[in-house]
Amino acid sequence: METRLAYTPISGERSHRKTDLAAFESSYKAEITSIHRLTDHENLYRIQIVDQPERERFDFMPGQFLMLELPGIGEAPFSISSSPSRKGDVELCIRKAGSLTNFMAKLERGTYVGIRGPFGAGFPMEKMYGQNVLLIAGGLGLAALRSPISYVQENRNRFNSVDIIYGAKVPSQLLFTYQYDMWRADDIRLSIIVEKAEASWTGKTGLITKALEDIFAISREEFFQDTYAIVCGPPVMFKFVCNMLRQRDVPMQKMFVSLERRMHCGMGKCCRCNVGSTYTCLSGPVFDYWTVMNLKEAI
C-alpha cells in the first residue's frame, strides 16, 4: 500500500502542438536577416527561423499573427506581412510605438529573436476563389493585408477583380511604396488616398471612405454580391468602412476585419484581448462581420 503521495511529472519536451503542455512556452529561435526602412516610423524586418526543418514546418494563413520575443525586453503580437508560401522566413512591418518596438528599431542584422506561433484565425483565402476581392487598409493596417495581397499575387488567376484601397495620413507615411507597380502589374487595381497632401502629392486627398465611394461609383450593383472584403485599419475606420460595404449589400459573411488588441500570451489565457465573449487571439484576429455584429465592443 502506498505510504506517500506520488509525484506526477509534466513532460518538458519541446512541442508546437496546440494540445501539448510543452507548446505553451515553446519558441522558435529566429534571426533578423534584413532590416528595411519603410518610413521614419516603420521598418520591415525579415526574420528567418534558424532551424531549416522548423522553418519548413512553420505553416500559416494570411492574417495570422505571431508573438515576437526579445529576451529581456518583452514579447508582443505582430501580424505576419509576408506570403505564406515563404513559411518560417517571415517579414514583419513594425512601427516604433512602444518600448519593445523602439528597442527593435535599434537592433542590427544577425540578432536572434524568439518566435511563438503562428496564432489565431486568418483570412479564408480559398473561399474567395472565383470572387472579387476588396482589400481596404488604413495606415499600418496595410501590414496585416500585405500577406493576403501576396497570396493573391501568387494565385492571381484564381481570383476575379482585385482592388486595394489604401489610405494614409500623409504621403510620407505610405508603406510599401516600392511594391505598388508590382501590384498593378499583377492586375490589381490600387487606389491610394491621403488625408493631408504634401507639396509633391498628385494623388487623391481625403478619407479612405472617399476612395471607397469612387470604387462604388464605377462598379455595377451585382459586383458586390460576389465580393469578399478584407478590412484592417485604426479602430475608428472599421465602423465607417463596414457600414458603407453593408449599404452596398456585401454579404456579412464575406466581410472580414482584422482587429488589434493588447495580447500577452496569444493562446487564450491572459484575457487581455477579450472582445465580447471570445478571445481575439483564438477566434480572431480575423473575424467576419456577422461575428463582429454579435460581439460587444468589437468595433
Binding site: 500500500m1 502506498e2 505510504t3 506517500r4 503521495l5 506520488a6 509525484y7 506526477t8 511529472p9 509534466i10 518538458g12 496546440k18 494540445t19 501539448d20 503542455l21 510543452a22 507548446a23 505553451f24 512556452e25 519558441s27 520575443e69 526579445l70 529576451p71 529581456g72 525586453i73 518583452g74 514579447e75 508582443a76 512601427r95 510605438a97 512602444g98 519593445l100 518596438t101 542590427e108 544577425g110 540578432t111 536572434y112 524568439g114 485604426p234 479602430p235 488589434e260 488588441r261 493588447r262 500577452h264 500570451c265 493562446m267 487564450g268 489565457k269 491572459c270 484575457c271 487581455r272 477579450n274 465580447g276 465573449s277 471570445t278 483564438l282 460587444k296 465592443e297
Partner: protein, 347 residues
C-alpha cells in the same frame, strides 16, 4: 461515490499520514480584523492543531499555491546576439490542501476548463494541479456567500475526499483511489441510515442560512440586453479601479507578462503576473489607444466575462459565489447587488 464514517480523532491521524510525505496547506487563523473577527489565511501547516476546519472564509483564495501572483515563465542566458531559453514549471513535489470549501474546489474545476481543457493547456498550472491531494470540508455560509446561487455550494468532483462534520463523527466522501488507500490506514466504518439522515439534515440547515443570493435565470441574455444600460455608469463611478476584486478572486486568471534583464546583462527573465481587468491599462495597446478607457467599461467587462462569456464558452459561470470580492471591495460593490440592479434596471 463511496462514503465512510470516521471518529473525530481519526482525522488527525489522516493528517499525520498525509503530512509525513508532503507539504500540507490549510486554513489557519492569522489575527483579528477591526470587528475582532478572526482572519483566516491559507498557509503551510505542520501541525493538525493549526488548521481551522471551522474557518468561515479566507481573505485570499488558495490561488498563490497553484496560480502564483508572480511566476517566472522562462529564463534566458544571453550570449551576445544569441541566447538560450529554459523553462521551469515550478513544481517538484505533491501538495496536500487540507480544508478547502466547496466553492474553492469548484473554482479549480472551472479554472481547469480554460487552463487545462482548451487549446494551449497551461503547464505551470497543470504541474501543480496534477500534484494536489485535496481534502474538502463543509462550511456554514457567511453574509457574503452566494455559492448556492452559482451552483458551487457542493463539490461533485475535483477533490480526493470531502469531510462533513456530523457532530460526533465525520462523514467522508471518497473520490479518488489515493484517498481510498489512505483511509485504509485509519479506522473507518460504513455509514448507517442514521448517518445519512444526519448528513441530509446538516445540508438542508446549511441551505437555509444563505443571506446573499444571485438570480442567474437567463442572466446571459439579460446581460446582453442591458449592455448599454446606465446602471454600469453607476457602478463604474463607484469603482476605484484598484483590482482588489481580482486579487481575492479564486477564479481570476488574467495576467501580464514582462521581461527583465539582470544587472550584468548576462541573463533575463520572463515573468507572468496576475492582473485585473479593472486596471486602467488592461486593454491599452501600443501607441496609446485604450479599448476600455472608462471604469464602467472595465467593470462591465469583468461581469460579462464571469457571467456571460465564460458561460457561453464553458457552460458554467466563472463566479463560484465565494463572496470574497464583495467583502474586500473598498467601494462596497458586491456581485449580488450589481446583478440584481442589472436585472431590475435600477439600483
Amino acid at each position: 461515490m463511496i462514503f465512510r464514517i470516521i471518529k473525530k480523532e481519526e482525522l488527525e491521524k489522516l493528517f499525520e499520514l498525509l503530512a509525513s510525505g508532503s507539504r500540507v496547506i490549510g486554513p489557519v487563523e492569522t489575527g483579528h480584523d477591526r470587528n475582532s473577527d478572526p482572519i483566516y489565511e491559507f498557509s503551510e501547516v505542520s501541525n493538525f492543531s493549526e488548521i481551522r476546519l471551522d474557518h468561515t472564509m479566507t481573505k485570499l483564495p488558495a490561488k498563490k499555491y497553484f496560480l502564483p501572483y508572480k511566476e517566472d515563465l522562462a529564463a534566458f542566458h544571453m550570449k551576445g546576439r544569441d541566447w538560450d531559453k529554459s523553462v521551469d514549471y515550478h513544481c517538484d513535489s505533491p501538495s496536500v490542501f487540507f480544508g478547502l470549501h466547496a466553492c474553492d474546489i469548484n473554482a479549480f474545476n472551472r479554472l481547469d476548463k480554460v487552463l487545462l481543457g482548451s487549446s494551449y493547456p497551461m503547464p505551470y498550472y497543470a504541474a501543480k494541479r496534477k500534484n494536489m491531494f485535496i481534502v474538502g470540508v463543509d462550511c456554514v455560509p457567511g453574509p457574503y456567500c452566494f455559492c448556492r446561487s452559482m451552483g458551487a455550494d457542493t463539490a461533485l468532483q475535483g477533490f480526493d475526499l470531502f469531510v462533513t462534520d456530523l457532530g460526533k463523527t465525520y462523514f467522508i466522501e471518497i473520490l479518488s483511489d489515493t484517498a481510498f488507500n489512505f483511509l485504509k490506514r485509519i479506522k473507518t466504518s460504513e455509514p448507517v441510515e442514521a448517518d445519512h439522515v444526519r448528513y441530509m439534515d446538516i445540508v438542508s440547515k446549511k441551505n437555509m442560512k444563505f443571506e446573499a443570493h444571485v438570480d442567474t435565470t437567463d442572466l446571459t441574455k439579460i446581460l446582453d440586453m442591458e449592455f448599454q444600460s446606465d446602471i454600469w455608469k453607476y457602478w463604474g463611478d463607484k469603482c476605484l479601479a484598484c483590482g482588489t476584486c481580482a486579487n481575492v478572486c479564486p477564479t481570476c486568471y488574467c495576467y501580464s507578462v514582462e521581461e527583465t534583464v539582470s544587472l550584468d546583462l548576462q541573463s533575463a527573465k520572463k515573468t507572468r503576473q496576475l492582473y485585473s481587468c479593472n486596471i486602467i491599462d488592461f486593454a491599452e495597446v501600443s501607441g496609446g489607444h485604450n479599448f476600455r478607457p472608462e471604469r464602467q467599461t472595465r467593470l462591465k467587462y469583468r461581469y460579462y466575462h464571469k457571467h456571460r462569456g465564460f458561460v457561453e464558452a464553458y457552460e458554467d459561470s466563472l463566479c463560484v459565489g465565494c463572496g470574497r470580492c464583495g467583502e474586500a471591495c473598498l467601494a462596497d460593490i458586491t456581485v449580488p447587488k450589481v446583478i440584481s440592479s442589472v436585472r431590475g434596471g435600477a439600483v
